[in-house]
């Protein structure tokens, strides 16, 4: 089972999904992330799926779950780097990511989080 690494920049946690995730990896990632948010008192989580080619309902649900969980812990989640084909497919599947915010890339994702925070301040 592969463990997805969680990076921290300031109060932002960055997760880059590089491989196809198994069920167990997904569960582990959710737990690790929740713990890291609490531990670092993170305000934002960025999930980078720029290398992910296929996002099916399972991955979609995962993203929504992570976003929901983070929100509970007072952190905003942004999914960044979604490929166009993936986006099209998600729309065709009729999946919405449960109100997960998206950004085109990591940079924009960080900017989005900063913007949200400053707005909140």
């Amino acid at each position: 089972m592969e463990r997805v690494p969680i990076l921290k920049i300031g109060d932002i946690l960055i997760v880059s999904i590089q491989v196809d995730l198994e069920d167990q990896s997904v569960l582990t990632l959710q737990e690790d992330l929740a713990e890291a948010v609490v531990k670092h008192a993170a305000r934002g989580v960025i999930i980078d799926i720029s290398v992910v080619e296929i996002v099916d309902s399972f991955i979609g649900r995962m993203l929504a779950t992570i976003a929901g969980m983070s929100r509970m812990l007072d952190a905003q989640t942004v999914v960044v780097g979604m490929r166009p084909a993936v986006a099209i497919t998600l729309v065709e599947l009729g999946l919405n990511l449960g109100g997960v915010r998206t950004a085109l890339n990591l940079e924009k994702g960080i900017a989005l989080l900063d913007h949200v925070r400053s707005a909140a301040r």
């Binding site: 309902s57 399972f58 084909a85 497919t89």
Partner: protein, 558 residues
């Protein structure tokens, strides 16, 4: 139409789902689909694959191609019926067609392609996809499968070899048993033949004996008439005869008597031959017997003054337990032979104890002409005589030695000759079962059953020097009065005077009162008290002797 199969992979766990959708994507690409459609196909496969895994329903995934379609089929191994659910709904949104066949056992996903965009041949597609196929479990399985197949092949080969060996063994076995059977048949046939021959021989021997007996008997009657008539003719009171006539008639008489002697020998031989001789062993004093022989044979020896008869009997060989008559006949035969063929020197009769062989050796040696090696055994053949001048002079039928040997064998002994031409002859008679002195002198068997008396006589023959037999109580009483026995074997049920009365009579007489009695009866429970009792049934020698000894000892102690 049936799609051309490109690849078949297993769907069993998470990893397989990734593999399947990766292959699906490449397959879609090779089938000429655009990038977006490739993602659609892969995502649809992912949805269906996860759905099946969630149901724990493994399946085979078959990628196929028709001219206008990419066809992906999930063949489930079984499991619960497939309920169309979210996965199928989602897949339907991405694919051109999703079909559920055979109650959900087979799920088919179809994506239309445009054939003219396809640039890769089916074969190349297949090869490209094969490279993507999982290298993990499936390959391992295939490898194992191959090994298994190899092992199986080896086993089959060994099996074949074994079968061949087996066939060889069976063939060998069959051959051997056939040979055995053949041999067996031969043996059986041979046996039957032997049986046949031996019965013929027995018959011939019986016929010969009957012939001898008849002839001897029929010859004796006229011979006796001739001898009687000769005596009448030359005896007193007859008509006077001329000297010449008297002489001739005397010759007729002599010849007739010689002939009668020969016929007698012949009859004896026939009797011995037919096995009708029944030795009646008694205690014999060999020294006494030898002296008697010397006296009776003496005249023959003294006619030739140069021959002495020497008797040499060892002290420990004096008492022998044999049939006296038979022993005398054998020795007389041997000695008369020895005297016949000895011109000068001596004829010696020796008796020795052969402790090792448990018997007595009686030897008659002479200093006569001897017998050549070639004739050693022939002299035991009936009517055989060694040719020679002395033999021509001596009279004989050639029956003496065979008869002596027959008797020796009837007594359980052997008779052999050692001799060489010119050095005299030693005839050796070995009699086994040299008994020590009998333990008691006389036993009386009183029983009306003749067979039992004979049996008891046989059992006691070397134990007692004399065994008297009485067929009823009166005879028993007379016998025991005349010769008081050391012990009486008494049957209770007898004619004239039964056992009980006999016991009373014995008790009344001083002479007989102390004679020990052993009661032998067929009904032991009815025997009077105070006497040892034996059952007639299954009477054994050791048992009988034990009881008899005990009875004698007890009477001695009183």
């Amino acid at each position: 139409m049936t799609p051309t199969e490109l690849l078949r992979v297993r769907l069993g766990d998470d990893q397989d789902v990734f593999t399947v959708r990766r292959i699906g994507r490449v397959a879609a690409e090779l089938a000429g689909l655009e990038a977006q459609d490739q993602i659609r196909v892969a995502t649809a496969l992912s949805e269906i694959g996860r759905e099946l895994l969630a149901m724990a329903s493994p399946a085979a995934v078959i990628f196929g191609l028709t001219p206008g379609e990419l066809v992906i089929t999930f063949e489930r191994d079984g499991g619960p019926p497939f309920q169309p659910s979210e996965g199928v709904t989602l897949a339907r949104r991405l694919m051109d067609d999703v079909r559920l066949d055979q109650g959900g056992g087979v799920i088919t996903l179809v994506k239309r392609t445009s054939a003219n965009r396809r640039r890769v041949s089916v074969a190349d597609t297949r090869a490209a996809l094969a490279r993507l196929a999982p290298v993990n479990a499936l390959d391992e399985l295939r490898e194992q499968n191959r090994e298994l197949a190899a092992t199986l092949e080896e086993v089959l080969r060994l099996n074949t070899e074994l079968q061949e060996t087996n066939q060889g063994v069976v063939a060998l076995y069959n051959q051997l048993s056939a040979e055995m059977e053949e041999t067996n048949r031969g043996v059986v046939a041979l046996y039957a033949e032997l049986e046949d021959k031996s019965s013929q021989l027995r018959e011939a021997a019986a016929t010969r004996n009957r012939f001898w007996a008849t002839v001897s008997h029929e010859l004796r009657t006229p011979l006796n008439s001739i001898i009687g008539l000769v005596r009448l003719l030359i005896g007193q009171g007859g008509d006077p005869l001329a000297d010449e006539q008297r002489h001739q008639i005397g010759l007729i008489g002599d010849s007739a008597e010689t002939l009668l002697g020969l016929v007698g020998e012949l009859l004896d031989m026939a009797k011995a031959e037919s096995g009708r001789v029944d030795p009646q062993p008694t205690s014999v004093d060999t020294l006494e017997l030898a002296e008697q022989l010397r006296l009776t044979m003496g005249p023959a020896a003294h006619s030739r003054a140069e021959v002495d008869i020497v008797i040499d009997v060892a002290e420990d060989a004096r008492r022998v337990f044999v049939d006296e008559t038979m022993l005398i006949r054998i020795l007389r035969n041997l000695m008369s032979n020895a005297l016949k063929f000895t011109d000068r020197g001596e004829v010696r009769l020796t008796a020795r104890l052969d402790a090792a062989a448990g018997g007595v050796v009686l030897a008659v040696s002479d200093t006569g002409i001897g017998i050549s090696d070639a004739d050693h055994e022939r002299v035991f053949e009936e009517f055989y005589q060694v040719p020679g001048p002395i033999q021509a002079r001596a009279r004989g039928t050639g029956l003496g030695l065979p008869y002596a040997r027959r008797l020796a064998e009837a007594m359980g002994g052997t008779l052999e000759l050692t001799s060489s031409l010119g050095d005299g002859t030693v005839a050796t008679l070995r009699i086994p079962h040299h008994m020590g002195p009998p333990e008691v002198e006389r036993i009386l068997v009183a029983d009306d059953d003749e067979a039992f008396r004979a049996g008891a006589h046989r059992l006691l023959s070397d134990f007692a020097a004399h065994v008297d037999e009485a067929a009823d109580g009166v005879a028993a009483l007379e016998l025991m009065t005349a010769n008081p026995p050391d012990l009486v074997l008494l049957d209770l049920l007898m004619p004239r005077l039964d056992g009980g009365v006999l016991l009373q009579r014995m008790a009344e007489q001083d002479l007989l009162r102390d004679i020990p009695v052993v009661v032998v009866t067929i009904a032991p429970d009815q025997a009077p008290e105070g006497f040892p009792v034996l059952s007639k049934q299954g009477l054994r020698r050791d048992q009988l002797l034990e009881v008899v000894r005990a009875a004698i000892r007890r009477r001695g102690d009183d």
